[in-house]
């Protein structure tokens, strides 16, 4: 007799989603479906009809955990639509921002999975290590992009300004000093992941992986003709789930795919492994690659070169601009079209987890349902941020209400 296990909302991830698993008598998942239940916020509609500069500011609010890829994808889409080629220093600073963000964001995820993989006696060590790395990585984003969370200085045409020579040297020294720390951290996390009690083959699927670039992103990779989008009603079969799901299902070459650190490692670094353990390892190892790249950029950066094209004409030609950025969680594509009147005519964002959603549910199949959340967390899902409300009694500190806000 089959039974349905529902986890709603799934925990230790960003935003809210639901995992629906049909299990057999042994508790093995026979059908897994994962769907976003974070209500649509309509940011793409908000920026339509506004000046192109509005889009990066509004669209970075898609997420508070990975705002950098959204900002970058947004400005790159606008650059493309307006026919702007940012100067070299501008591109380097953008890339530097993303590299630091990869390190920071991967560390956050390791914090989220810590209860799954870290034994009690190492918990403090692991969390301190995460904090130390995040502090340094965020310092880079703060200095280069103006703000650590929603960066103000990533602009259409490049960056608001270059950094000073003093700041460059400071960042270089700081990141060089961080390198042994990150190596040690990656070794710790990789060891813990391998020691964790995950059954062999957990989370393995045969869907293709896609990644546009080793670490930064490349708009030329994203071929609009190979991309289709279907509505959740036609994807999930179950009409109730289809109605409840809040995100569309993007397909590449007609099939659902996996994006993220493992996908990049497979496409660009000769990585062959699959499944939960492989995803955690690829993510940890990528921290080293991103840090090395950040140091290399700081080494090359000319701080007296302009970081922005300066004045540009905001009147567009209705060209569909594409920004494809490799966010920590995978390829983030923003598409924008600016008309002759200098206003955004069309805007669409295909965020990393949206690509992964149709792949994540089925990846839980074939194992006990208790492993379902582990499979989900291996993708480091980030649904759009949601609002939580907690009402606490002033007198006895009891939680009277703990709700996700539904509009």
């Amino acid at each position: 007799m089959s039974e349905t296990k529902v986890i709603s909302p799934t925990s230790r991830q960003e935003g809210h989603a639901e995992l629906v698993m049909e299990v057999d008598d042994e508790g093995i998942v026979t059908k897994g479906r994962y769907l976003s239940i974070t209500p649509v916020r309509g940011l793409e509609k908000i920026v339509t009809g506004k000046a192109p500069e509005t889009a990066p500011v509004i669209c970075q609010r898609i997420c508070g955990v990975c705002p950098i890829p959204h900002t970058l994808a947004s400005v790159e889409a606008m650059d493309d639509s307006l026919g702007i080629e940012p100067p070299k220093a501008g591109k380097q600073l953008r890339e530097l921002t993303l590299m630091a963000h990869h390190v920071n964001s991967h560390a956050i995820h390791q914090f989220l999975i810590a209860p799954d993989i870290v034994p009690e006696d190492l918990m403090v060590t692991a969390i301190n290590s995460v904090s130390e790395i995040r502090k340094n990585a965020q310092y880079v984003v703060d200095m280069v992009a103006g703000e650590g969370i929603h960066p103000s200085d990533v602009r259409i045409g490049g960056m608001a300004s270059n950094i000073s020579e003093l700041a460059r040297k400071k960042l270089y020294t700081r990141l060089r000093a961080l390198q042994p720390k990150v190596d040690e951290h990656v070794e710790l996390i990789a060891g813990l992941v391998l020691d964790a009690d995950f059954p062999a083959g957990l989370g393995v699927h045969n869907q293709p992986t896609i990644a546009s670039d080793n670490l930064y992103g490349n708009r030329d990779f994203f071929d609009l003709d190979r991309f289709t989008e279907v509505m959740p009603e036609s994807w999930y079969k179950d009409p109730e789930i289809g109605k409840k799901a809040c995100s569309t299902i993007p397909l590449y070459d007609g099939v659902n795919v996996e994006v993220g650190p493992r996908a990049r490692a497979v496409q660009f670094r000769g990585f062959k492994e699959k499944g939960v353990v492989a995803q955690h390892l690829a993510r940890a190892l990528e921290m080293k690659s991103a840090l090395s790249r950040a140091i290399a950029i700081l080494d090359e950066l000319n701080t007296s070169a302009p970081a922005n094209v300066g004045n540009f004409d905001i009147r567009g030609t209705s060209k569909l601009g594409i920004g494809a950025i490799e966010g920590p969680r995978g390829m983030d594509v923003h598409m924008a079209q600016v008309g002759e009147n200098g206003k955004t005519e069309f805007y669409s964002a295909l965020v990393p987890t949206t690509w992964n959603i149709p792949t994540m549910g089925p990846a839980t199949e074939g194992f006990h349902h208790e492993y379902g959340p582990h499979v989900i967390r291996a993708y480091d899902p980030c649904l759009s941020c949601a609002t939580h409300v907690i009402v606490i009694d002033d007198d006895d500190r009891n939680i009277l209400k703990d709700d996700m806000v539904r509009l």
Binding site: D142, M143, V144, G146, E147, G148, D153, S161, N162, I163, S164, L166, A167, K170, L171
Partner: protein, 294 residues
């Protein structure tokens, strides 16, 4: 509390001949910022540097004492230094920022430190605020207008501006011109009319010419930071001092002007409140000390 909280009041000037030559009065701000930079008490300072237009200062991040020197001298129009503090912390990567500010800017910075909205990791890096006395401030267009129209001289020819003895003075290469301060009224920024702070009460150290003889400045040390910096500079021989009691016109004048500004502007505040206008200050009836700066 007409001068705010302070530890010590002294008459002082820079001992450096070069600073004496180009600075407004005693060259205290220039000397202290240079000293703080040299002694690594701060690693950069946001100052009112020279801009494209004569007399229209542009905030600048000075990292050496030469750069501080280039920004010496009072400019009678606003230099939005607070605006550049974030850039100093971010793109310049400074950890200990010094700045020079007029009273309203000082209040802004202190508020920023108390409620760091949008200035995460900026407010805590402000290590030194040198406040300067300020009766009122002119928008650049106002300044340009009364200098060229009322005083009949092009601002480009002006080498120094000064306020003293109830007059606004300009010095060109070959003449000295002045108009009574009354003539400049109406040209100040609107906000200056409700400001209750003459002597940068919230700074680490405040300074200005009033109360001291020509070429000297009156210094009020306020915080431990400001006090220790000043003492170090005096000890190092960068600054020489005289007791206020020994100089003319003395602290009395500073107190008198501060009181006048507070009383006059409190009236404006009361009037505006009576008209139902929003004013970020309390009416005199709501305050215990009518001269308090809130």
């Amino acid at each position: 509390m007409v001068l705010g909280t302070y530890k010590e009041a002294l008459s002082a000037r820079s001992t450096d001949k070069q600073i004496q030559k180009i600075s407004q009065d005693g060259g205290i701000v220039t000397a202290l910022l240079s000293f703080a930079l040299d002694e690594k008490i701060i690693d950069g300072a946001v100052v009112a540097g020279p801009g494209k237009d004569m007399w229209k200062p542009v905030p600048q991040v000075a990292m050496t004492s030469d750069e501080v020197l280039a920004a010496a001298g009072t400019k009678y129009t606003l230099s939005p230094n607070v605006w550049t503090l974030k850039e100093a912390a971010r793109q310049y990567g400074l950890e200990k920022i010094g700045t020079v500010s007029i009273p309203c800017q000082t209040m802004g910075i202190r508020k920023m430190q108390s409620y760091p909205f949008g200035v995460r990791f900026v407010a805590d890096k402000i290590a030194l605020i040198l406040g300067i006395y300020c009766m009122e401030n002119f928008p650049f267009e106002s300044l340009r207008t009364f200098i060229s129209e009322k005083m009949g001289v092009s601002p480009e020819l002006v080498e120094k501006m000064d306020i003293g003895k109830g007059k606004f003075w300009v010095y060109t290469a070959d003449e000295t011109l002045s108009i009574p301060l009354k003539e400049t009224h109406g040209y100040e920024q609107n906000g200056c009319n409700i400001c209750l702070d003459y002597v940068a009460e919230l700074a680490d150290l405040s300074t200005g010419s009033v109360g001291s003889p020509e070429g000297w400045s009156t210094v009020l040390t306020r915080t431990d930071n400001g006090d220790s910096l000043f003492k170090q500079a005096v000890e190092a021989g960068i600054i020489e001092t005289k007791p206020m009691a020994d100089v003319k016109p003395g602290l009395g004048l500073l107190e008198k002007l501060s009181k006048e500004k507070k009383e006059k502007n409190q009236k404006t505040i009361d009037n505006r409140i009576a008209m139902g206008l929003p004013v970020p200050y309390k009416a005199s009836t709501e305050k215990e000390d009518p001269l308090a700066n809130y």
